[in-house]
């Protein structure tokens, strides 16, 4: 009981000492909170989007085969199917029709696609929630698209995908194969790419290699590669994220440098007085440790909670200008909060511990000198 009371007395004194330098310490807590908030927001956002991608895309096509012409993707002839289907381990193969449509009316890009099992009747479309909101068209309305021969094509909207599925469907238009071919004047006998199903998923790489041997002008993309693409998205090495990380590291270097470069004359005098009235060196170090902990822990807890509210309640509103970029049509990032204790612990050790430790070293140096000389200085 006595030990706890002693710690509380030191904490009382520490808080009074911090409040004496209210302006400086408040500014420190605000900046510290902002840095934690920024790092935590980036961590929560990127982790949640990666996790969601891994769950949603685990049923993506097992192998996609593209044809390359002079280094660029080109339409692939349907007769390539005959050359690939005989490869041992391939259970099914079919052509995929998809492409992009630039809507000059609102300046947005759409993804147009023909569903593989012909679920849509001719003259009808199913559209994403993003298109519906941007074009102000709803179920039962007509959607006008301009065909590549200049003709205006009218399609009845049969269904609008839910706003919850926007992360995969915001810009999607599904239509019948004939409509698709008419709209783009798409050549008969060719498709955008091929999708394969394999009997044994462990053979995907071997089959991809065989496809490359048989058809050297093609590029197979296996599902693991699609998943790895989204596993490395928003990696810390990517552009703006490295800038944010750099800013955060710089802030912590400034904090640590401020502490490690020594204490102010006022703080040294305070330590001198404390030692003169009987405080032990260990008490002074303990007081400085509490000081570091009060500042860093307060900022850390507040920063984490604010970051959570930012990412999962406001759909990362502060990141929106960056995420939108030049996109006219974009999904609202309503992410599922995939957060865990590991992320919080990582942030804790990255932000709280270095600061708490950095406050002890100069305090120890000041606490071991003669109180008389400190007070006279």
């Amino acid at each position: 009981m006595g030990r706890i009371e002693a710690q509380r007395n030191i904490l009382d004194f520490t808080l009074s000492s911090l409040l004496r330098r209210k302006g400086k310490n408040s500014a420190l807590v605000i900046v510290y909170t902002l840095v934690v908030f920024l790092l935590a927001s980036v961590m929560f956002f990127t982790h949640s989007i990666r996790k969601e991608a891994s769950l949603v895309l685990r049923d993506a096509p097992e192998i996609v085969v593209q044809k390359l012409v002079a280094g660029r993707q080109d339409l692939i002839p349907l007769d390539y199917i005959d050359k690939i289907k005989d490869i041992k381990g391939v259970s099914s193969i079919k052509g995929r029709l998809w492409g992009y449509y630039f809507d000059a009316a609102i300046g947005a890009n759409y993804t147009l696609m023909v569903p593989p099992d012909a679920q849509i009747s001719q003259g009808s479309v199913e559209i994403g929630d993003g298109i519906s909101k941007s074009r102000q068209v709803y179920q039962g309305d007509l959607l006008t698209l301009r065909a590549y021969n200049g003709e205006a094509m009218l399609y009845q909207i049969e269904r609008i995908f839910s706003a919850e599925s926007a992360l995969v469907s915001a810009d999607l238009i599904l239509m019948d194969e004939n409509d698709f071919r008419n709209l783009f004047q798409f050549p008969v006998g060719q498709v955008t790419d091929l999708t394969l199903k394999v009997r044994n998923p462990r053979e995907m790489t071997t089959i991809a290699q065989k496809i490359s041997e048989i058809l050297p002008g093609t590029r197979p993309i296996i599902r693991d590669e699609i998943l790895r693409t989204y596993d490395s998205i928003f990696n810390w090495r990517a552009g703006i994220l490295i800038v944010i990380l750099f800013v955060a590291v710089l802030c912590f270097i400034i904090f640590a440098w401020d502490k490690a470069s020594g204490l102010s004359a006022e703080e040294r005098r305070e330590i001198g007085i404390l030692k003169a009235i009987g405080w032990e060196t260990s008490d002074v170090i303990l007081m400085k440790f509490w000081e570091g902990l009060v500042v860093s822990l307060s900022s850390f807890l507040l920063g984490i909670v604010l970051a959570y509210l930012h990412v999962f309640f406001t759909s990362s509103i502060l990141f929106e200008p960056v995420l939108k970029g030049w996109s006219v049509l974009y999904p609202e990032f309503k992410l599922v909060p995939f957060i865990d204790a590991y992320q919080v612990a990582t942030l804790f050790f990255l932000t709280v511990m270095p600061y708490a430790v950095a406050t002890i070293v100069p305090a120890w140096r000041a606490a071991t000198v003669d109180p008389d000389s400190v007070m006279r200085a």
Binding site: D12, N109, Q209, G239
Partner: protein, 101 residues
């Protein structure tokens, strides 16, 4: 009230809020199961390959389907024409021999 009591109450309140954050996250994950299944079903049914994160450029919209000649052709950290290109990395398989086997 002692200053230490006020501070400890503040820390306790924050820790409780942090616990509530974890409870809320767990609840939301449970509630999102249907929504995730719906998205996963759409990916399977329509044979989708990418998330609709950016729609400003084709290589940003279908990142895993991009070729080296459209984006990132100078170097992965090169200044990009589209802002989205500055917050994501080129797909790992593109960097490996331009995605060929």
């Amino acid at each position: 009230m002692r200053k230490s009591s006020i501070y400890l109450l503040y820390v306790a309140a924050n820790v409780i809020i942090l616990c509530l954050v974890f409870i809320h996250a767990a609840y939301m994950r449970g509630a999102a199961t249907d929504m995730l299944t719906e998205k996963s079903e759409m990916v399977k049914r329509f044979e989708l390959t990418d998330l609709c994160l950016f729609t400003d450029a084709r290589y940003a919209r279908h990142l895993s389907m991009a070729d080296m000649n459209s984006a990132f052709q100078d170097m992965p950290m090169a200044f990009e024409h589209f802002p989205s290109g500055s917050i994501m990395l080129p797909p790992p398989h593109i960097k490996r021999a331009h995605g060929t086997y």
